[in-house]
Symmetry: D2
Subunit: 254 residues, 4 copies
Amino acid sequence: MTLRIAVFGENRHEKVDATVQEIYPEGMHTVIAEGLRATLAADGVDAEVRIALLDDIEETLSEEALAQTDVLTWWGHMAHGDVPDAVSERVVRRVQEGMGLIPLHSAHYSKPFRALMGTTCNLLWRNEGEEERVWTVNGSHPIARGVPHPIVIPQQEMYGEMFDIPAPDELVFVSSFAGGEVFRSGAAFRRGKGKIFYFSPGDQEYPVYHQAEIQRVLANAVVWARPEDRPSAPVKIANAPRDWFRGDEAERVL
Amino acid sequence: MTLRIAVFGENRHEKVDATVQEIYPEGMHTVIAEGLRATLAADGVDAEVRIALLDDIEETLSEEALAQTDVLTWWGHMAHGDVPDAVSERVVRRVQEGMGLIPLHSAHYSKPFRALMGTTCNLLWRNEGEEERVWTVNGSHPIARGVPHPIVIPQQEMYGEMFDIPAPDELVFVSSFAGGEVFRSGAAFRRGKGKIFYFSPGDQEYPVYHQAEIQRVLANAVVWARPEDRPSAPVKIANAPRDWFRGDEAERVL
Amino acid sequence: MTLRIAVFGENRHEKVDATVQEIYPEGMHTVIAEGLRATLAADGVDAEVRIALLDDIEETLSEEALAQTDVLTWWGHMAHGDVPDAVSERVVRRVQEGMGLIPLHSAHYSKPFRALMGTTCNLLWRNEGEEERVWTVNGSHPIARGVPHPIVIPQQEMYGEMFDIPAPDELVFVSSFAGGEVFRSGAAFRRGKGKIFYFSPGDQEYPVYHQAEIQRVLANAVVWARPEDRPSAPVKIANAPRDWFRGDEAERVL
Amino acid sequence: MTLRIAVFGENRHEKVDATVQEIYPEGMHTVIAEGLRATLAADGVDAEVRIALLDDIEETLSEEALAQTDVLTWWGHMAHGDVPDAVSERVVRRVQEGMGLIPLHSAHYSKPFRALMGTTCNLLWRNEGEEERVWTVNGSHPIARGVPHPIVIPQQEMYGEMFDIPAPDELVFVSSFAGGEVFRSGAAFRRGKGKIFYFSPGDQEYPVYHQAEIQRVLANAVVWARPEDRPSAPVKIANAPRDWFRGDEAERVL
């Protein structure tokens, strides 16, 4: 089945910041989407990648659009507050129903991620364009497949611990920065039937999403986060206790 | 230091339901509070236990009151919607800052617990007064200290899996019911600096909080959930990278 | 790539116990292997299933044979002590290198499982042919795909908590028994690059492995446990610290 | 109750290496033991600290001695192979019964730690006396109490990821090194009823155990790892299923 991906981009820095325009002339979302398309195609994964922007969020992340989305990547930073609460709430609900979510970098502060975590998602930061190294700590995890050890990002904003998230269900990457800090930069969570993979590279001021290794991680992550395909497995239990499996219930699967 | 406990009781069923009045003539909160006082006193724990009710929630769970609370137990059921959002939000914030939270039974659907979990907290249920057995699956956990294996609760509402919570940081108890279901009945989480212990017994229609074994679990849980006492550990790092430890920061501890 | 599965069967009860002979005239391993073949074929998974027995263990689980094995299922009970230490040690080593391991039922006490867990793997038990119900507690886990909720096993040996294992990385199933006990019956672990799924059904005295739902779980488990395919991702880091990436190291991936 | 601590020291480098002799003229174990005594006394913890050396290991870690030990710290490096298998096995068994274990630095390769983990415990390393920074990633964990963020160790051997351990039950510290690597330097595990805290500082060539912050971590760790005190909670269940609670069983607690 086709893997249906939506790439959400806030697309605000791109409008006002010359540095960002130079790195991402057609927007960060375009480079993220192109990276996914190319990497998944090379892997032989049947995938469709569409764009959703803050400017068209009511349509592109409508109830109907989300119902047709398997995995949503999310980059936002300066305009988290402009995401309508109702949109965030339906993204959260869709994750609980099985949609994958890949919050990127400053999306640690996005509304849906914070709502799914139940924590402040605070962290240390310092933006001086330091080298980041992304180390794998879980070598058999599918998101680490084919990923160099470490990924070297020549320039990045520093994100440092304490990162106020729940203990991840699976910790995949830990980063170091030239200034000496560390960060849990790749962290996987399950909420309801949905999977979430937070990945902390990359800041808008550096060409992080142009790097092939980063595109590899994103492609691995969307495949990992796709909903489980759950064929119907009707249950008929003659001796069910107190008959709670009855009527429609009898046909229900998880 | 004195352990400052607040016992929140919705106190609604007690006003309208003769069965509940008979079991808990002075309210469920009174029995929960008395159980804590007696068990902690027997353990030699210096503790203060106060009551907070839905009727006085703006005062008893005010910002100031919560700032003086180390651990909050929470029982609610028919009136979750009557808890003001602002109260729920400050409870959540206090948990993130370190306050312990012990949601009981139907508080799986309470506003603060759902906000801290990020999931629906749905579960199966059936109220036919069946026997519940609470089995310890983590024998060295402090909340299981001195707890019989199993605790037998003669009559209870059944709560069954799937229980839609994040994977607990520590699973302490799993229950079976006479009807054949299972339930993760004792589940521990950390959110920010605060600890949360969800414990699924007991329904208002049965005298569950009168049982000494249940009082033992609750006393263990509040002691476990108390905030860490964190003496100041000033940090002076001459060679700190980019001087991020400076000014007040230099004195900060986690 | 073909998924290469080895089904290890102790094949001792089948030789001495008329009840077992009647249920499994060609051995338990034959039914397990046939169930895997049929279910995986229906799923379109390219798989080869071979048999390994205690009587030929030095050959069928030799260093060379294990090197050609992606996932090993293991059923043993009365003759754990007859498994040579050297065989157990190489199974453990292969798991650490990436091979999947699926210990079944009484294999909780098998040498390789105990060595990989680091615990006693003790549990409660009682063999009176009681009904077991296997409940899913992690609805989005691939091993729970298409599995009824619950699986009902008409007759089984009871396995009960405390089950002395490390906290599983992922808890998938919890069982109840007619006698009132509970058991973490489906538990997933990672050790090194290998994945382990312990599944507690079924005892040799009951036709558990003939059940389609059980065959579904086993088929899901071997697919889940297959080693990650890790294409080479050469690393060349000009500015590597202290040049630890040099020579052959520069080509190394995890 | 008195917390009974044993400090195991291999005490080999101290005999042959002038650098180590200068830093630890009376052995590393002496400094570790003195640090524990002083820090615990300042905390008001009633504790006894005794020394156990490789040279007297059959006596100091005998069955009887271990039965009187609540928490064992373990430093070893060049002579792991000289620890008798029988001693390692009884240490493992005592941990499963409830004794705490604190493996230090190169004890990642010690026999009991590897047996308890079930993994190779491999890691990257490079000994060039680089600065290590130990960052807290779990701010409410008792082992992080009063610990600066970060601890700065002026000179250390680098230990880097991949560190081949099971996913820790609780991750407390992550280190960075001047050369750019990261390491999960403080990792907590439960095995049976016992708790284990692996802490990777410090190498014998640097005065790591003389640092007050490191002594603080060790003191926190032994208090955290002490066995739960489990008062008897006899179980009498008239309606126990199939009477499995009978005879002595009826009195059993976990």
